[in-house]
């Protein structure tokens, strides 16, 4: 068991991670300090609550969403927390470097950690496509590259294209999905039969994934409404809730339609019930009536189930991309739908309010969406090429999707 696993990761991982971690501590020492100005207790607690909701989505939601692989549940769950902890530290530092003069210290406060957690979320989303095909050293590298690319993309969007903060944050779905797919493309090898079996799910792992789905489902309104106040927040929260409700109902029933015997696919449920929340992300604060967000949730669920049914075949066979946890149809496709819905809404808004810069508006919005996708694909390719280097001692294809390659396993426990 595991005797074919290259010993050298033993030296490689701790050395590499402790170096990175020490570097982080030094960077924090030289470049950061806490905000000492007194804040109102109410505001502080409000910020803390939103921060907690985002952390819940990251640590519990995305953590357990990837627990569904039968033989890869431990890695799915534990690597997630590792990547979250590492990614958030790097994102805090980067946020300071990119937005402030290098000479002055970055002032740390809670909204900054919250923003960093969102950046780290992009790593967790992408990890869903790569999971089972990379070891922890490779994932560390991926996290560093992705957080850098995502922060750069957000800065470019904010400064060059003049995108607002919320839209730039919502491009995370498209960015992270295509980043993950690009990395996965670089790492995908034809799977032997045994590895394909390991990809299946089982009763308990599926329930753990369902737990992750629930946490995401419940806190998605917090995530979408994070940056708004008052009426806009109320709308963001409500629209997200209605979109999620409709996509849950639609996804469950359409999943039965897609099976010849009318059976529902649990993996569809894990992913497609969330499609509504993704699709409504960019527009949630602008929609004035719930029917539109509900219609968006319906279409998103249809696209997501359709994608889950058709895309794996074509992506796998034609392009050789293997998407472990269905990141493409959970975040990618509904994210694109949301981007298109945003452009349409902005245009109609411009027409109604009689603005005459409609063409310019469409250009900017399309540019922002394309930027997210292009940046995701390009930086993903870059990361994928880096990860393919032999120096990281990637697991052999026969050990893909296998917890035993990474974990000290109790003998009795195999399979339970």
């Amino acid at each position: 068991m595991g005797s074919k696993y290259p010993r050298s990761v033993r030296g490689c991982l701790p050395l590499w991670v402790l170096t990175v971690e020490t570097a982080f501590i030094l960077l924090f020492f030289f470049f950061t300090s806490y905000d000492d100005t007194s804040t109102d207790q109410e505001t502080l607690m409000g910020t803390y609550r939103v921060f907690q909701d985002v952390t819940t989505m990251a640590a519990l939601g995305l953590g357990f969403l990837n627990a569904s692989l039968w033989r890869h549940g431990w890695s799915g769950v534990a690597f997630n927390l590792f990547l979250l902890a590492l990614g958030a530290q790097w994102a805090v530092l980067l946020d300071g470097f990119l937005n402030q003069s290098i000479r002055q210290k970055t002032i740390l406060h809670l909204p900054r950690i919250q923003k960093a957690t969102v950046s780290a979320l992009s790593v967790l989303i992408s990890a869903g496509a790569v999971l089972g095909k990379a070891n922890l050293v490779q994932l560390v590298l991926m996290a560093l590259v992705e957080v850098t690319a995502f922060s750069t993309m957000r800065m470019l969007g904010l400064t060059v294209l003049g995108v607002d903060d919320h839209s730039s944050m919502m491009s995370i779905h498209v960015f992270a999905a295509y980043f993950g797919l690009a990395v996965s493309w670089c790492l995908s090898r034809p799977l032997p039969k045994a590895a394909e079996e390991k990809e299946q799910t089982a009763t308990s792992p599926s329930l753990f994934a369902m737990l992750g789905t629930r946490f995401l489902w419940m806190f998605w309104p917090s995530f979408n409404g994070m940056l708004f106040v008052q009426v806009e927040r109320m709308k963001a929260v409500s629209n997200t809730y209605y979109a999620l409700a409709v996509s849950t109902v639609t996804a469950t029933s359409v999943s039965a339609l897609a099976h010849p015997q009318g059976k529902i696919n649990m993996t569809h449920i894990h992913n497609a019930v969330l499609a509504g929340g993704v699709a409504v992300g960019a527009t949630c604060h602008m929609i004035h009536s719930p029917w539109f967000s509900m219609a968006l949730g319906l279409v998103a669920a249809l696209i997501s189930i359709g994608g889950a049914k058709c895309l794996p075949v074509c992506l796998n066979r034609v392009l050789g991309i293997h998407d472990s946890c269905g990141v493409h149809y959970t975040f990618g496709l509904p994210g694109l739908l949301g981007g298109v819905a945003y452009i349409v809404l902005m245009v109609t808004h411009s027409i109604w309010s009689g603005k005459n810069r409609i063409f310019y508006q469409v250009l900017v919005d399309t540019g922002a969406l394309s930027l997210a996708m292009a940046m995701g694909l390009l930086s993903g390719l870059l990361a994928g090429l880096l990860l393919s280097l032999k120096v990281w001692k990637a697991p052999p294809v026969a050990k893909y999707f296998d917890d035993q390659a990474f974990w000290e396993f109790p003998h009795l426990a195999v399979g339970f």
Copy 2:
């Protein structure tokens, strides 16, 4: 596997659900709009938190509470989210139709979704008695009927009997339990040996159910105190906490007493630890000293364990009612105890404050409790008769409590 399962659900479920969903979107389009008046950020966030707590109870609490059946865990968990999403939409619409003139649009705000989630909770409670004996088409129908009946009952209580909002909400336990039992009575058939085995629990499913119990346990104080402010809220929260603490301790030890060898029954624990929260529901804001809520918790746990030990036998054999997840002794009996406690407290209160309309008061309170029970039984019978129609292609008795009838199942996964 599953070849005996009627194919036609494939056509029936998506057709029926997508029609309902489209109708909902149209109704939302014509009859609802958002509240555009600015609200205070603090109030909004406070409302949102309470709304989140109720959603947590519904999606995580009741969702996983029904995960304990060995071979029916997927359905228990996933159907729950489906019913929540569907029921809440219908409840929002109904709330507008019943409480406002049909000519004006329903103004949607967060408290309305919160109220709708509570209505949908009644479906989730009842589903515990029906689970494993109905397919998703039948459950959709049940959800629509139950939400309608529950909303009508609340409106009748509020307008005809003059019951206050909190008491009317707390009748949910009695209403939903007897609704579920009535539906279950219509669907119950003598189970073959193999189906009885599927009813058992196992280690992991039990832990998932325990997770659901914990979430309910933790957020029950939020639920009971939802409609109060200041001192009354503090009392509601504290009384619920003490009642739950005592019923946890009592249930665990009495469960050992009920077994000849002194072993504790896990299913008792899942249900009876919550009895205190149910029993204290109606009176939680009126109790001036914790000892009373603690005593109520103690009695509720005794009744709940006693019911769990004796009722299944008599209900099953004499009446032929099969209660899959013990809804009767988790919600029904403690809810009745809570109703009686409310009447007693109101009477003593009236006597102390020298009011001379005691008889009238008793009449109204007994009327409200009877209304909840009668409405639950009658509408449950109606729903049960509807569900027994052949047109819904109910699963055959041999497929009762079997996930494989509804889910695309990985071959390797059976039993894990």
Copy 3:
């Protein structure tokens, strides 16, 4: 199955627990009443949120953290809720008795329940060392002794040594860990081979434990910042977050270093990722720059993994102490590190601010740390001796770590 289990627990447990519970209700009746003064709704809700976070850590965090034993998951999870419910009631009463004149009634409000939940947390921590070696009657006794000892220690610290409330609360880790170890020493017997196998973990139990770890990880900032407001709270929350992030990254990679083949140990991850939160507890509000809490998190994770690797061998072989869930290296050692860090920070603080009572300061702080450790060891020994009495019918060594000794078990379910 289980026929060797002494029947008499059947009579003993309910009799003993119902007597205790009735005594509690009577004590609450005579000695407590609710706070009837009106409080600000905002303040009330703020307090309630913090209280909820602490309950989440106790019921979900520590509850599921102990679920990892393969054959003892049910007891690990369910006994936890029982001890929490019982311990919190006794702690509320004790808090009144120790801090108020016996003649006047204790005024109950939410902060009092919150404080009681923290006291009950000490029982849940210690239970991790004792789990699987004691029956529920013994655990009830342990809970009563431990809550009494912890409340007494806090009162002594506050009144005699003049320790502030936060430091006295943070001594919980050291106190509870050494209390648990002392009890465990009294109960430890050489384990037969079969019982050792039961100590192993398996896939699903490990994921449940991971769930507990996540909840603790996420709400630890709330716990550490509980007693502070404004800037100090912001610092407490941020420092805890950074410490946890670093200890997560460090623990995962160092765990791979500790294994000859570079495999990560899941039990290390459950425990060592939390070491940062423990270590930073006492000092979290005083640290002015994140690098120091990060360094503390790094050292804590190293100590924790080192302890997990070396201590079980020496504790087990030399002293005969068996630590079921690694309480010593999760809470004990990082807690000691935190205590030392506190002393160092206080001294440097005194030097910088030119106070000339440095020696006195060191004396008091060392005294507080020693008090926690001594009180933990002594009261733990006392509790352990009490628990060793034959009258409690302790489970035989062959039934250590075996759910079947306590639970009515479905035949099919063994091992799943």
